[in-house]
């Protein structure tokens, strides 16, 4: 049954071309010497140089990276705990509410999540800025981490844990010495996904940020609304390169298993 039919090759090739062509065009035009975005003026690094002098953009990038690192770390801790709760604790009071709250943010439209978090921060009288964006991103991304770690926890051989327990290992030590090393690749993948989601988010950050904490997407967005600019092509290319390198490293680290898990996790888990 498994043979390469012409139909299959064509469909997959066209689909992938559709996914990659716009990104490729953006990358190519970031090296365009011409100020007019659509006229090719030869290869040049002009816009990358312009970018290095764009103080506001660099500051936004730095803020984004710090928020992403902080919220990804917090989300990984909370998400791993949630996944452990969902797989290892069986039925407990409030479980239904808990699992609903874990999965709801995955599908909730961002405008609703953003608005509700902002109104919470206003109600609490918290000054908005770096910390509120980080907290909002933690809430959003911990759900993705939970899904990833959860799918790893349900798929591995439980008898290893049971063996450790039977030999008298206390639960916490079992978790740290047996379970944790086994799910470490999923935790790493979860951290990476949380990091890139936080780096990417525009809507929730716009709602929860305050004066003085502009993230990179907010900055890019305000530039893009004024029309296409070659500098924006350059910063976008850098972000794409960053993500591509990170993805390649993470897939090398976790080898082929990573692909399988990325599939189970990100979205395939829905089935």
């Amino acid at each position: 049954m498994r043979r390469l039919s012409l139909f299959n090759i064509t469909v997959v090739a066209l689909g992938l071309a559709f996914l990659y062509l716009p990104i490729a065009i953006l990358v190519i035009y970031s090296f365009n010497a011409s100020r007019l975005v659509t006229i090719w003026g030869g290869w040049s690094l002009t816009w990358y140089r312009a970018l290095l002098q764009d103080e506001a953009m660099l500051q936004a990038a730095w803020a984004s990276l710090r928020i992403a690192a902080l919220s990804a770390t917090a989300a990984t801790l909370l998400g791993t705990l949630s996944a452990v709760t969902l797989t290892r604790f069986g039925a407990f009071r409030g479980r239904l509410l808990f699992s609903s709250m874990v999965y709801a943010p995955l599908v909730m439209p961002e405008v609703i999540t953003g608005l509700s978090l902002l109104l919470l921060f206003v109600a609490l009288g918290v000054d908005r800025g770096f910390w509120t964006v980080a907290a909002a991103h933690t809430t959003l991304t911990m759900c993705f981490v939970t899904v990833i770690v959860h799918s790893r926890l349900v798929s591995f051989d439980r008898s290893l844990e049971e063996a450790a327990m039977d030999l008298g290992c206390p639960p916490l030590k079992t978790f740290l010495t047996v379970t944790l090393p086994l799910i470490a690749p999923a935790i790493a993948a979860g951290w990476m996904l949380a990091f890139s989601l936080s780096l990417d988010d525009l809507v929730i950050a716009s709602f929860t940020t305050g004066p003085g904490a502009t993230t990179l997407p907010i900055r890019i967005y305000s530039e893009v609304r004024l029309g296409v600019k070659p500098e924006v092509n350059a910063i976008c290319t850098l972000m794409i390169a960053f993500v591509a390198v990170a993805t390649i490293i993470s897939s090398l680290l976790t080898k082929r298993g990573a692909v399988r898990r990325a599939r189970d996790t990100t979205l395939g888990a829905a089935v």
């Binding site: 390469l4 716009p22 609703i112 349900v154 967005y221 976008c236």
Partner: protein
């Protein structure tokens, strides 16, 4: 394992408590606040809002609070065509895009699931990879292509398919292109996951019994992949309804989706009660698909066990 769990040690409770408390405070409580503000009236341009819930007054305080609740914001949603039209526009865009996504995503997922085993991880990776790159960047990439002096017009003019530049940007077509482009991985992956798991001997059996391939596909493959179709459709439909970035960057100014309307009410008009009411109404609208999605998800998790 269950030994330790049954004991419900203090440390085990702690494990549950931390994420639970986090979600209660930062996910559930905010919705209660949205609900409350949607039922309030603006006292000034900014908070405070009326009525105020006075918990110190106890039962009487709660009764006063309920008596003073205002449904003005909701009445406004029902009477102003601006809001009704943006809800309808959102549903239309989400529905049409989901159908297009299925038409493009299904053959792709099928093609990947039927390719040699050794290739599949790479192909799946190639579909996932754009999901890791910024959403904003991927939408912006289309601005480069679709604008008046953009690449699509240049290409079509040079090929003499059109004789003057067409306005691709700021149109519904541009919204559909952007949405389909951004959500394609969300459609392909769940479909691939079910198609890949499918038992191929069923198709062989159908062939042995004389069923032509197209008929076997229609009567065996498609029904078996229904869970994937449902999951993919919901995973796309729900967030597209509330989409803000794509219609704002690629769409025209004459039509608004509900996400944009909420954004405008909140940031431009500073009418927080109406913005909250829009959010609550959108959530109610999406509650049915979200609950269906949740049920599918839970069944999948139980099935995986």
């Amino acid at each position: 394992m269950s030994e330790a769990v049954r004991k419900r040690s203090w440390s085990a409770r702690f494990v549950v408590l931390i994420p639970y408390a986090w979600l209660l405070v930062l996910f559930l409580a905010p919705f209660a606040i949205v609900l409350k503000i949607s039922l309030s009236q603006t006292a000034m341009a900014q908070p405070p809002y009326l009525p105020v819930l006075d918990l110190a007054a106890g039962w009487q305080g709660l009764k006063d609070f309920i008596a003073q609740l205002s449904f003005d914001s909701y009445a406004m949603l029902g009477s102003d065509w601006l809001y009704i039209l943006s809800y309808l526009k959102s549903l239309e865009v989400a529905f049409v895009s989901t159908v297009i996504l299925l038409l493009i995503g299904y053959p792709m997922a099928y093609g990947i699931a039927r390719s040699p085993r050794a290739w599949q991880p790479l192909l799946v990776m190639l579909v996932v990879l754009p999901f890791w790159t910024s959403f904003l960047i991927r939408v912006y990439a289309w601005v480069n292509i679709l604008q008046r002096d953009g690449l699509l017009n240049t290409l079509l003019l040079n090929l003499h398919i059109i004789d003057q530049p067409a306005a691709w940007l700021a149109s519904d077509t541009a919204i559909y292109i952007g949405v389909v482009y951004s959500y394609l991985p969300f459609m392909v992956l769940p479909l691939y996951a079910t198609l890949e798991k499918m038992d191929e001997s069923l198709l062989e059996a159908a062939a042995d019994l004389g069923s032509p391939r197209w008929k076997a596909f229609w009567q065996v493959t498609v029904p078996l992949s229904l869970p994937g179709i449902a999951a993919g459709a919901l995973l796309c439909f729900i967030p597209i309804c509330g989409e803000f970035v794509i219609p704002d960057l690629l769409g025209g100014s004459d039509t608004q989706m509900i996400g944009q309307t909420l954004w405008t009410e909140f940031f431009a008009n500073r009418d927080w009660p109406v913005a909250s009411a829009i959010a609550v109404a959108l959530l109610v609208l999406l509650l049915v698909p979200i609950m269906v999605y949740e049920r599918l998800q839970r069944r999948a998790i139980e099935g995986a066990r």
